[in-house]
Symmetry: C2
Subunit: 432 residues, 2 copies
């Protein structure tokens, strides 16, 4: 145990930034062939997929419909949306490679124009609204190579993106729901605190004064309803609509923009989006709300990494249990424990797995290294639980789980294998 | 019921191709701004996500590690891989839009080179092999606009892509596992039959004769082990390795290439991939196996659409139950039924949903149209079960489920709401 304490002291002494944790736990890599595009390695992908699974479940109850939209669109679309000029050098251009192929495409920096095309695909009635689309497509922005770094300034990223098309009278409820979702999600991730800022109509604006007034009062109403402190940034909204900034403070006091809520009077106008009203006129214009909870998944991952310092809560941990047989004699039992705890059969699969089957990431380290070295490496890699297997365990058919980062006083719990599995399930169920 | 029978007769009379089903059930759309790139609409996305969830579960037990790899790579990478010249006009080129930004990128047509970079990222030992990566990234191929159509010839698509890096002595077991997975998956989707074809060394080839001989005999061994008929295509392999074609026959007798297994001696050489052997030499070269089970998810979706004719088995159905209150008086009970069957709370969510919570896609159609019209439209949209709610149901607290496409003789089953929910769970559990 001396080894373990030493490591604990070493690794807890200093704050580690996400790049260091990413390297230590092999979560992601970068490569000179594609600056700013992150390769999520197997363990990083596990966390990423867990975040997606979690947010997708919430999208079901918050009645967002996920869509999978294209990644390249002709220049004409970006002219309509205004991005071709506005985004200029931040947007990548795509072309066919034959002489004859003169079509210019843009690699999408955001999903909104694609979602406008989906909205416009069929006629919409006031009864269909609000229409809510979710999308987890990869987005590309040509940031300068001098500013790209780690997971926070990248060129390719993914958002838990959402667009709501609604009537002006629906804005308040939609924003209330968005604020509620953000609040609930941040609680799950133990975000210590966040600030809400309302930015209102600037001097230059599009849309009618009446719509702005109604939208702003809907936002105020929703903010008041949230029972969360908020502040006013008068006149600081975008020219195309008011917005709410959600500024998250991490456990080191650093502020990050993760979630956003942005109203938009412009895109519905540029794309000539309409709906048939109760008055039977088809000339009604919906409002568009852009919103994200995590924001950039890559950036949110970085925030989580720094906040947890790589000590992942069990439910999101990419390495949940490390089983350590003391000698070769304990290896067979260690594998049995791995199989029961993980929920995956030993050896070659004999049947297909149920899609919803709960499985755990359980590894065995049976290398011929000292137990101390294997424990130390397991702790450094970020395993949540360690389970040493010796004579006692084999003879009594038990397993002892101990939090890898629990420190000296962390209690060790002894279970049968089935009880241990149940214990893991229960701990995960407390989160998600 | 007269209405219903008429519709059944109309819709069953003729074979519908996937484009017609896609339109009728609003599964996907296309748009002139991005020819060949499919927009999966909400209901198409539900099927697509279900396929991903299903195959991801299998990847866990077949020990594939999912990664998320970048989408654009500098030209230099495609020179190394050979794609820049070989793929020429099939590959999209990507560039920054500022004058100063002269870097040429290629939009990836396949994941293999990216996976080679991940392999090469750290030193590998014979003990680490096989290394298996799964990836569901979007891929782009610049097919001519004259050939693109529906979901089968597209420019942007997704594969359930996998690459195995292994030693020559591991090929046979890896291929056996791949064939087993393909066979099990095809059973789940009721694929009536498929053919296996082994293509062997052509006149022009790279790699050593010894490696080819060992690889081919490993493939033969795996094919024999599969207990499935297979045929030899002598000399028809690619110059860089032998392959197994899996030709799936749909219920209309049409053959499709879905799954593939391709050995590759070339990319490991081009990327100078190595591993440290038992002899401690670092000069060993792994073999690479490209394999996919569904192949293109878009194409597999088209095959499923045509095979089922849009009558989705419950587990994959994007519209599982349609609840039809006869009059307004039955609307409140219909909503209660929707909530219990779907597993989603009525109205605004009050708590976060468990990520693994099983939910069902249950809609209520309470428009003031005749019951006949609503049933007909429900059948056309592809609902799996219809549940008409009248006085009897409200009074007895029951619900009757009837297969929408079961025809006249299909039995109607009456349950309490909780029993009905359990019935749906059980039916899904029979598949996945
Ligand atoms: Zn947006
Ligand atoms: Zn490949």
């Amino acid at each position: 145990d001396g080894d373990k304490d030493q490591v604990a002291a070493e690794t807890e002494a200093t704050f580690k930034d996400h790049r260091r944790i990413g390297l230590q736990q092999e979560l992601y890599m970068i490569n000179e062939h594609t600056p700013g595009s992150i390769f999520l390695l197997p363990h990083g992908t596990r966390i990423y997929n867990r975040l997606l699974l979690f947010i997708r479940a919430q999208m079901k109850q918050f009645r967002f419909d996920e869509v999978v939209s294209p990644i390249i669109y002709k220049r004409a679309l970006w002219n309509t949306s205004g991005h071709w000029d506005k985004y200029k050098e931040e947007m990548f251009e795509v072309k066919g490679r034959s002489e004859a192929d003169s079509e210019q495409y843009g690699l999408k920096p955001m999903n909104c124009p694609g979602h406008c095309l989906i909205y416009r695909h069929i006629d919409r009635s006031y009864r269909d609204l609000p229409i809510r689309y979710a999308d987890f497509s990869p987005l590309h922005r040509n940031e300068s190579t001098t500013t790209i770094t780690g997971l926070t300034r990248v060129r390719r990223f993914h958002q838990d993106d959402g667009h709501i098309f609604c009537r002006v009278d629906q804005i308040s409820v939609e924003i209330q729901q968005a604020l509620k979702l953000i609040d609930e999600v941040y609680k799950v991730f133990d975000v210590p605190s966040y600030r809400l800022l309302l930015s209102t109509r600037p001097e230059q604006y599009i849309g009618s004064l009446e719509d702005w007034d109604r939208a702003e009062s809907a936002l105020r109403e929703a903010l008041d309803f949230s029972a969360h402190d908020w502040k006013l940034n008068e006149g600081d909204g975008a020219f195309y609509g008011p917005k709410i900034d959600i500024l998250l403070k991490d456990q080191n006091g650093k502020e990050h923009q993760a979630a956003t809520i942005q109203l938009d009077f412009q895109l519905p106008q540029r794309f000539d989006l309409k709906y048939r009203g109760e008055d039977d006129s088809t000339e009604h214009r919906p409002v568009m709300i852009h919103r994200a909870v995590f924001g950039s998944l890559e950036r949110f991952l970085a925030i989580l990494m720094e906040q947890t310092q790589g000590n992942w809560p069990l439910w999101i941990s990419p390495r949940q249990v490390l089983v350590l047989p003391i000698t070769d004699q304990h290896a067979a039992y260690a594998e049995k424990a791995q199989s029961i705890l993980s929920g995956l059969p030993l050896g070659a699969p004999t049947r297909l797995l149920d899609s919803n089957a709960e499985t755990f990431f359980v590894d065995v380290d049976d290398r011929s290294e000292t137990l101390g070295k294997r424990m130390r490496e397991g702790i450094q890699k970020g395993y949540t639980y360690l389970a040493v297997i010796g004579d006692k365990e084999v003879e009594s058919g038990t397993i002892s789980l101990k939090k890898a980062k629990g420190g000296k006083k962390s209690k060790q719990m002894t279970f049968t294998l089935e009880e241990a599995r149940k214990f893991l399930e229960d701990e995960v169920a407390q989160y998600h």
